[in-house]
């Protein structure tokens, strides 16, 4: 079954960071910041243009 394969798969991120040489802390910090900046650029684009109206109009009936 498909689960079998996945069980053997270790967490990918951790493996990678162990294999790579540990970069300087500041360098790593900068990399993370650049990555976040890129993500925020993308989010600025997909975010509803009129945030106020969008948030105001999202009304749900209560459920369980």
């Amino acid at each position: 079954m498909a689960e079998r394969e996945q069980i053997k798969k270790p967490a990918p991120q951790r493996e990678q960071s162990e294999v790579e040489e540990a970069p300087e802390v500041s360098e790593q910090g900068q990399e993370l910041k650049a990555e976040l900046d890129e993500l925020l650029d993308e989010i600025d684009e997909v975010l509803e243009s009129n945030a106020e109206d969008f948030v105001k109009s999202y009304i749900q009936k209560g459920g369980q």
Binding site: L36, L39, L40, I43, F54, V55, K61, G63
Partner: protein
């Protein structure tokens, strides 16, 4: 030995009908689901069993585990007239309380639950596309996998776990509460602001969970009002002499697969330990409802929770203790009740995540929803100099849960996955192989025209020449591929199946 922790997730999705002034959430939810059903019928790509409706015969959501419902408690209503379909993967897809809701098939382990939860997202995504074909230009149905509208209205993501009837309910309450309150540190989907009466965004700019604001009781029957941390609904959908079904209403819907996996995986292990009377220490909170909110509001994860015995412990400390017990339990009892190797995977991942939360929660931005969301909220606020109550932050919060690929924020974060895209797609129409969902799904796939209705514990057949026949499935761990594949292979028609079930020796 604990009974198999067969489990399922029911998710009520948020829904918006855009491009019209005349939106009605019940009509929108019905349209969404009906669009999906007719689309799948048209393309023949598996999924729903045409013409088969849900059978309400055994629905008794008003029954209380404690025996009698306390005076003044509201028994949930059953809406039998709304769209209510059974899918060939064993799931139920229906309209509930003005929301589209999908209940996964019964699963034997946390990885299967994660797979069927992902398949549920895909089903909702296909539903949106199918509805867009039917709606006038400019209109759309948009689905959100979250639990609150930010205005005090909440809708749930419930979990269900099979429990032995013999387990003292008081033990479920004590240990269940300790776990449900403290697991929030990794199950939380994150929320901007607070919806608890009297609290403003200035006081709670961001919290770990969507749901903590809405819990007011420790134990009770309600699900829509005065929500309790431990719900007492006693509706086992199985042999009631042997089993109860613990209905957990205190969790968030997760976008992160790791969070879903841990939410169900750790809870199943804790409940197995309760059933085997394995937990030596009781963590009783002095005020459980307040403890639940305190954990959700404490981004430092460092504030001690007051215990009834006068001592205190942080959520992390309680989780470390439960994990420690889980390792010992695995050694002494094994993990067969929670999916064997998948149970081991849960324990390893549980430890990784607790260690990560202790070291630096922000390092888990690809694993946990609240961390992923918090990182973006902080980033966006810093970039544009936004105050905590700026609508753009609330919009980002909502859009994190938007299921449209072109708008979803969660889909852009790069969250770690545990399920391959191919496996998730297959789970749209294929049932799990190791619970009774297999028998339900296979019967629907083969003989839908001869099936009038189905539900969790039975299928009603109509083969024409005799009265309707109900085939009971009171044992959730039976009806697996191992049990019924040979039988199914021997039957060409539903009538053959009924004959074989009536007289096992007939061929």
């Amino acid at each position: 030995m604990a009974v198999p922790k067969i489990c399922g997730i029911e998710t009520e999705f948020g829904i918006a009908h855009t491009g019209t002034e005349d939106a009605n959430p019940i009509a929108a939810s019905s349209l969404l689901i009906n669009s999906y059903l007719s689309e799948v019928e048209r393309t023949g790509e598996g999924g729903p069993a045409t013409g088969v409706t849900w059978d309400f015969e055994d629905e008794m959501p008003g029954n209380d585990i404690r025996g009698i419902a306390p005076l003044g408690s509201l028994a949930p209503e059953i809406e039998t007239h709304l769209v209510n379909a059974v899918l060939t993967n064993g799931a139920r897809y229906y309209v509930d309380h003005a929301h589209p809701e999908l209940s996964t098939p019964e699963c034997s382990n946390a990885l299967d639950i994660t797979r069927y939860d992902k398949a549920a997202e895909l089903i909702l995504m296909r539903s949106m596309e199918a509805a867009a074909q039917l709606l006038p230009r400019g209109q759309a149905l948009v689905v959100y996998k979250n639990n609150s509208d930010g205005k005090g209205n909440s809708y749930g993501c419930h979990e269900n776990y099979l429990m032995a009837r013999a387990t003292p309910f008081s033990q479920i309450v004590v240990h269940g509460t300790a776990h449900l309150v403290t697991r929030q540190i990794f199950t939380g989907a994150g929320k901007v602001g607070s919806e608890a009466p009297g609290l403003t965004t200035a006081e709670v700019p961001f919290q770990l969970t969507q749901r903590a604001d809405f819990f007011e009781e420790e134990v009770g029957l309600e699900t829509t009002l005065k929500r309790p941390i431990i719900n007492t609904r006693d509706e086992p959908h199985a042999d009631a002499r042997l089993y109860r079904r613990l209905h957990v209403i205190a969790g968030d819907a997760n976008m992160s697969e790791v969070a879903t996996f841990l939410k169900v995986g750790t809870t199943a292990i804790v409940l197995a330990m309760v059933e085997d009377n394995f937990l030596p220490r009781e963590f009783r909170f002095r005020t459980p409802v307040q403890a639940m909110r305190q954990v959700s509001y404490d981004l430092s994860l460092a504030k001690p929770l007051e215990l009834a015995d006068g001592t205190s412990a942080t959520a992390l400390e309680i989780q470390w203790d439960l994990l420690d017990q889980a390792r010992k339990y695995a050694d002494s009892h094994g993990l067969d009740a929670v999916g064997g190797p998948v149970g081991e995977m849960v324990i390893d991942r549980w430890e990784q995540v607790l260690a990560g939360l202790e070291a630096d929660p922000m390092g888990l931005a690809l694993q946990l929803d609240w961390v992923a969301k918090y990182r973006l909220i902080q980033g966006l606020a810093e970039r544009h100099g936004l105050r905590p109550d700026d609508a753009r932050l609330a919009a980002l919060d909502l859009q994190y849960h938007d299921l449209r690929p072109e708008r979803s924020v969660a889909a852009r974060v790069g969250l770690e996955t545990l399920v391959s895209a191919e496996d998730a797609r297959a789970a749209i129409s294929e049932p799990p192989t190791d619970t009774r969902a297999y028998f339900r799904g296979q019967c629907l796939k083969r003989w839908a025209p001869s099936i009038v209705a189905a539900n969790w514990d039975s299928i009603v057949f109509d083969v024409g020449d005799e009265p309707l026949r109900r085939v009971p499935m009171m044992e959730p761990a039976r009806g697996t591929a191992d049990h019924v594949d040979e039988l199914l292979a021997d039957c060409d028609t539903a009538a053959d199946l009924l004959n074989r079930l009536r007289d096992p020796s007939s061929r």
